[in-house]
């Protein structure tokens, strides 16, 4: 139960940080995605179910900031959580490098929902977006994940 509360707290904090502090440190418009890091944390450690529910919750909180597309980020978070859970058994999940790489890929997946759903992007303009924003943000997220994931994991789930 405490784990669930901690995940809820982290999802809430991630959305809040994403909407406030992270905007201040966005070099060239690139931002790490803390939502994805929290979803990855839940999915990698606890499996598909936890990943999906954490993704749904984080997505819903993000949706609340943009009511016209309510449900979009929930779907994005859900899919991201599901993919995390699926990847859990297929990667060396104990390795920090694997975790960071997975987080980068998940960021790209989540960004698809932002680009095509919220921003109304088209298929032809996606390569430009991918090079200009997508790749950089994914790498920043991976970097942030490599730094904070171990600490978050220890705080949420205790020592292995």
């Amino acid at each position: 139960m405490i784990k669930i509360i901690k995940i809820l707290l982290l999802a809430w904090l991630a959305v809040f940080l994403q909407s406030s502090v992270i905007n201040m440190v966005s070099p060239w418009g690139l931002m790490p995605n803390f939502l994805v890091i929290v979803i990855a944390l839940a999915g990698l450690r606890e499996g598909v179910s936890s990943g999906v529910w954490a993704g749904l919750l984080a997505g819903f909180l993000a949706d609340c900031y943009h009511p016209p597309t309510m449900g979009l980020f929930s779907v994005g978070g859900t899919i991201t959580g599901y993919l995390t859970g699926m990847a859990r058994d297929r990667i060396y999940r104990e390795q920090l490098l694997s975790q960071a790489a997975l987080t980068a890929v998940l960021t790209l997946v989540y960004q698809l929902f932002v680009f095509f759903g919220r921003d109304g992007g088209t298929l032809t303009s996606y390569p430009g977006y991918f090079i200009r924003f997508g790749l950089g943000s994914a790498l920043l997220t991976a970097l942030a994940a490599a730094i904070i994931l171990p600490a978050l994991e220890r705080w949420t789930f205790g020592k292995r």
């Binding site: 959305v15 809040f16 905007n23 909180l61 016209p68 449900g71 929930s74 859970g85 919220r118």
Partner: protein
């Protein structure tokens, strides 16, 4: 046995996935009013308590940059101020001669920002007006640096403001120096561009872009940004002008909603007032020495009145 167990788990996972997707679908299918109420309620309840201190911290963080920039601008503005005072005085005299009605100020309603969409150029803000009564849809939201956006929905406590970075936002804009008209919009929420500007228009890098007031939603003369890059779109025979927006959402914790009134007088002649009670005051005249006697004769032909939005700060009637 192991395979069986794995299958069961996979089924369980898929059931969880389907359940979560169904919940998302239900959220997506909610009526738009309910979506707005739900969004505003959640943001207002669980994020607002932290958002306000965070926005204050953001303002503090960015204020040292502002400080240097403002010092430079103050020097330039002081010089401009002197010439504007002269121009305003002349303008007053001409207005009297042409029997134009005098201008009043906007009715401004302060509102604090309690939430925003998590992106660098957020397309929506959740704001809490000082007095939500009287705040309605399509009312422009501004800050001292220019236009923020317009109110898209207002509730008993919170209102939602669609910023100029919203992908559906279109603002009729004008280049202050050359009076070239265009449409200010964002390119899929990423770049800000001035669209539909004819190829041979006189637009230069660094030109200031203001609202034109032609769209009937936003008043004229509100700052939108400066020209950053000019690209030629040969196929459409137009210029694609990239704008560096003046609006920096990281620096705002409070906005003003224009609930009524018309454009204010020249900024150099009126102290900044933000209270509704002061908004409808007639313009304060600066005591100036009586003008020298002038022999002004009205011509027979109608005099072309210059576009008033040329004046800094917007000076529509």
């Amino acid at each position: 046995m192991l395979l069986f167990n794995r299958r069961i788990w996979h089924r369980h996972d898929i059931a969880v996935l389907i359940a979560a997707l169904l919940i998302s679908a239900v959220l997506a299918l909610l009526p738009s009013g309910l979506k707005t109420a739900l969004g505003s309620g959640v943001v207002g309840t669980i994020f607002a308590p932290l958002e306000y201190p965070a926005s204050q911290a953001r303002s503090l963080f960015s204020s040292w940059k502002d400080n240097q920039e403002l010092r430079q601008r103050l020097a330039v503005a002081s010089l401009e101020n002197i010439s504007l005072k002269e121009a305003a005085q002349e303008n007053d005299e001409f207005r009297k001669l042409l029997d134009l009605r005098s201008r009043t100020q906007w009715l401004l309603r302060p509102a604090r920002v309690v939430g925003r969409e998590p992106s660098a150029r957020a397309s929506a803000l959740i704001v809490e007006p000082n007095n939500p009564k009287g705040v309605g849809q399509d009312m422009p939201a501004i800050i001292d640096r220019g236009l923020v956006g317009k109110v898209v929905s207002s509730g008993p406590e919170y209102s939602q403001v669609a910023t100029i970075f919203d992908k559906d936002s279109r603002v009729s804009a004008i280049v202050a120096r050359s009076r070239v008209l265009g449409i200010f919009r964002t390119d899929r929420g990423q770049r800000c561009i001035l669209d539909r500007v004819p190829l041979r228009s006189d637009v230069r890098k660094g030109d200031t872009v203001l609202t034109s007031g032609y769209g009937q939603v936003f008043p004229s003369g509100l700052l939108l940004g400066t020209v950053e890059k000019i690209l030629i779109d040969k196929r459409q025979l137009t210029l694609n002008i990239e704008i560096n927006p003046s609006l920096d959402l990281n620096r705002i914790s409070q906005i003003f909603i224009i609930t009524g009134g018309v454009n204010p007088p020249l900024p150099s002649l009126s102290p900044v007032k933000t209270q509704d009670s002061l908004a409808s005051r007639p313009r304060r005249r600066i005591a100036a020495p009586p003008p020298p006697e002038m022999d002004i004769r009205l011509p027979q032909a109608p005099v072309p009145v210059p576009d008033e939005s040329e004046l800094p700060g917007g000076a529509g009637q």
